[in-house]
């Protein structure tokens, strides 16, 4: 089959690789119909995630048709159309039984690697480094899905791929970002990053009853999408000072909750941005926490900072004093996708949200390398690319 492989920093290539095989009883093999490129794939592309190997198949947002099942999968049939969550979860361990599927204790065969970096491991993840398991990803014609009986969700025929594909990652991720804010009537929620996850965080904040939602970015097309599709107010951080503007908008109190949908490769104009770029380049910090610092400083006393942007390792100049003295609650996590798939599918069916609004490009699998470049450089107002491999 054909698959999009990571060959090194800034180098992905579509190659011929062996077809996936059933390795365990609870596996399924999926023929992929749609597979997206995620903003977090850019961290791999830019070379910021350790333990990648040349030839790794990328992709963790995918869906398709079941073509083969392991002997222990009883709740799926060959021919079922399913969406696959990006974390791999066993459904049986201490974490899974609490609904914390992205920190499953049993799905990462390389847990010891992650323990070296983070103290404890998390779940295995498709196409996302060897420290998260070394699982081949879904930017391919076929993929093996372990624990398919727990993960893969059957989706109704009447919904198009574009409407349900994002149940695999970015819609639940954005939703969880908003849910962690524990939104109360009248709340103002500020969201750093108006990429697809940021858009869904803003849309979810609205669904959960926020009165005002403010999106922060520098790309006009993303800010426009936030205004037009989500009904958010927007701040372009290259034009105005984010802190000052948020102060003005909230009577000097600050947003009730702040969502960091940016993560480790944040940008900022001026000295602050240069400082972190230099430290990251010199390996003195692994991540550039510019959005996170701003989110903490801007948040109101007693508010919540919700972090859904991906961080890899260590950050510098973390404003712990602001966080501690002002009673701010910090909530984080890779999304526990399994927990949100069904309720969000119902929201889509009810017409509360149509996630396809973030898609700007469809491509074939062969065009994936161009897609990565285009997405990284934000060419052609690129916001979300969906690959159709078959």
């Amino acid at each position: 089959m054909k698959a999009n492989c990571w060959m090194g920093a800034n180098d992905v290539r579509v190659q011929e690789v062996p077809d996936p095989k059933i390795l365990n009883g609870r596996d399924a093999i999926i023929k992929i119909t749609s597979s997206a490129i995620c903003g977090s794939d850019l961290h791999l592309y830019n070379g910021y995630i350790p333990t990648m190997e040349s030839g790794d198949v990328l992709g963790h947002e995918f869906m398709g048709e079941v073509v083969e099942l392991g002997r222990d999968v009883r709740n799926l049939k060959v021919g079922d159309r399913v969406v696959v969550p990006f974390p791999i979860a066993c459904g049986a361990c201490f974490s899974c039984r609490q609904g914390l599927f992205s920190v499953c204790e049993n799905s990462n065969p390389n847990a010891w690697m992650a323990e070296k970096l983070w103290g404890h491991s998390i779940a295995g993840v498709f196409g996302y480094s060897h420290l998260l398991g070394g699982y081949a990803g879904g930017q391919a014609q076929y993929a093996r899905v372990p624990f398919a009986d727990v993960g893969a969700l059957k989706v109704p025929e009447e919904l198009r791929d574009d409407q349900v594909l994002f149940l695999s990652d970015i819609l639940p991720t954005g939703y969880m970002g908003a849910e962690m804010c524990d939104i109360q009537p009248g709340d103002t929620i500020a969201v750093w990053g108006c990429g697809p996850v940021g858009q869904f965080a803003m849309a979810s904040a609205k669904m959960l009853g926020a009165e005002r939602v403010v999106g922060i970015d520098r790309f006009p097309e993303r800010l426009r999408m936030a205004r037009e599709k989500v009904g958010a107010e927007t701040i372009n951080y290259e034009e105005t000072d984010v802190y000052e503007t948020l102060q003005d908008m909230t009577g000097g109190r600050g947003p009730d909750s702040c969502i960091d949908a940016v993560g480790m490769e944040a940008h900022a104009p001026g000295i602050a941005g240069m400082y972190d770029k230099a430290k990251q380049a010199m390996k003195l910090e692994t991540d550039r926490p510019i959005a996170l610092r701003q989110a903490i400083m801007a948040c109101r006393n007693g508010g919540t900072v919700s972090v859904i942007g991906v961080y890899g390792g260590f950050i510098d100049k973390f404003p712990m004093g602001s966080l501690m003295n002002r009673s701010i609650r910090l909530r984080t996590g890779q999304c526990h996708v399994h927990r949100y798939m069904r309720p969000l599918l119902e929201r889509i069916q009810h017409g509360d949200i149509d996630p396809s609004f973030v898609i700007t490009h469809h491509m074939t699998l062969d065009e994936a390398p161009e897609g990565f470049k285009m997405f990284r450089d934000k060419e052609d107002e690129c916001i979300k690319i969906v690959l159709n491999p078959n």
């Binding site: 198949v57 361990c93 049993n106």
Partner: protein, 302 residues
């Protein structure tokens, strides 16, 4: 000098290193005069470099124990030899004070002797106890009554072992076989030496075995009915000679991860019915995260 004395002498030498090093770094002019050479820019630079070396060696000895400390002391011996050679060259330079140079050289020779004795003693005590111990603990979400029988069944060991093979010989006896890279296969048999149902099992090598291995598993109910805390302690005494050294080298690298992987696989099997396997993890060495051409036999989990 016994081991305890050697440790004390090592710490003394470390502080001496730091003191001397600081003097060389901060007062190179005075130091030059003290050892009997004429002060100039180049000599100050040399003294500062040597001083930095002394401080580094001293810090290394103080900050570490065991092998690290031993290496630190031997690095001092290397430094001493550099000092002696530099002092020797200084005799023939212009304006050298030979009397002072002789005193300085004698002092360095004395310290060198002390360094060597201390280093030898630390090395000897390193080799004295070759036992390697690893201990890891995991919570498995089932009661001890379910977890204990899993481990009591030698066939399960064959499924979870990562860096070799385990064969069930019946009666709780197992044959362990490990390939030592570049050498040969080593094999040894173990038997159960103590067995307290739902609480503890110990396996130990037979008396005539080439490798003395003792593995102890302890089972304890986890608080809050969260299952069983399983701790696994593995002790090895490798044989002497080249084979022993190779095994020791391999074992210092492997057992922490291997022990942990054993425990994790047991947990996976008990909790989920299968061992988590990825396209890369079924291979022993590095493999890209892409589907295998052929599933390797034996795949690294069964």
């Amino acid at each position: 000098m016994n081991r305890e004395n050697a440790e004390r002498v090592a710490r003394g030498l470390a502080w001496f290193s730091i003191g001397l090093g600081a003097a060389e770094v901060f007062a190179p002019k005075q130091m030059a005069r003290l050892i009997g050479v004429r002060d100039n820019d180049r000599r100050r630079k040399i003294l500062r470099t040597f001083g930095a070396r002394e401080v580094a060696a001293g810090t290394a000895i103080l900050a570490q124990s065991g092998t690290g400390r031993m290496v630190g002391v031997w690095s001092r011996v290397g430094g001493d030899l550099m000092d002696i050679s530099t002092l020797g060259k200084a005799y023939s330079t212009r304006g050298a004070n030979r009397k002072r140079l002789s005193i300085a050289t004698a002092a360095v020779l004395g310290v060198t002797a002390l360094d060597v004795i201390c280093g030898l003693q630390l090395s000897a005590s390193q080799n004295g106890d070759r036992t390697m111990r690893v201990r890891r603990t995991i919570i498995i979400g089932r009661a001890p009554g379910e977890v204990y029988p899993f481990w009591r069944d030698a066939n399960n060991w064959a499924r979870i072992m990562d860096f070799g093979e385990v064969q069930n010989l019946g009666n709780g006896q197992m044959r362990w076989t490990v390939r030592i890279p570049g050498l040969r296969e080593v094999s040894w048999d173990t038997r159960i030496t103590s067995d307290i149902p739902e609480s503890m099992i110990t396996w130990r090598s037979m008396e005539d075995a080439e490798i003395d291995m003792m593995t102890t598993l302890r089972f304890e109910p986890a608080p809050g009915d969260r299952g069983t805390m399983v701790s696994m302690e593995v002790q090895f005494v490798p044989p002497g000679g080249a084979l022993g050294a190779a095994i020791a080298k391999m074992l210092t690298r492997i057992p922490k991860e291997a022990t942990e992987i054993c425990l994790q696989r047991a947990k996976q099997l008990i909790e989920t019915g299968e061992i988590a396997r990825s396209d890369a993890s079924i291979f022993m060495g590095p493999h890209a995260a892409q589907p295998p051409e052929q599933v390797p036999e034996p795949a690294f989990s069964h």
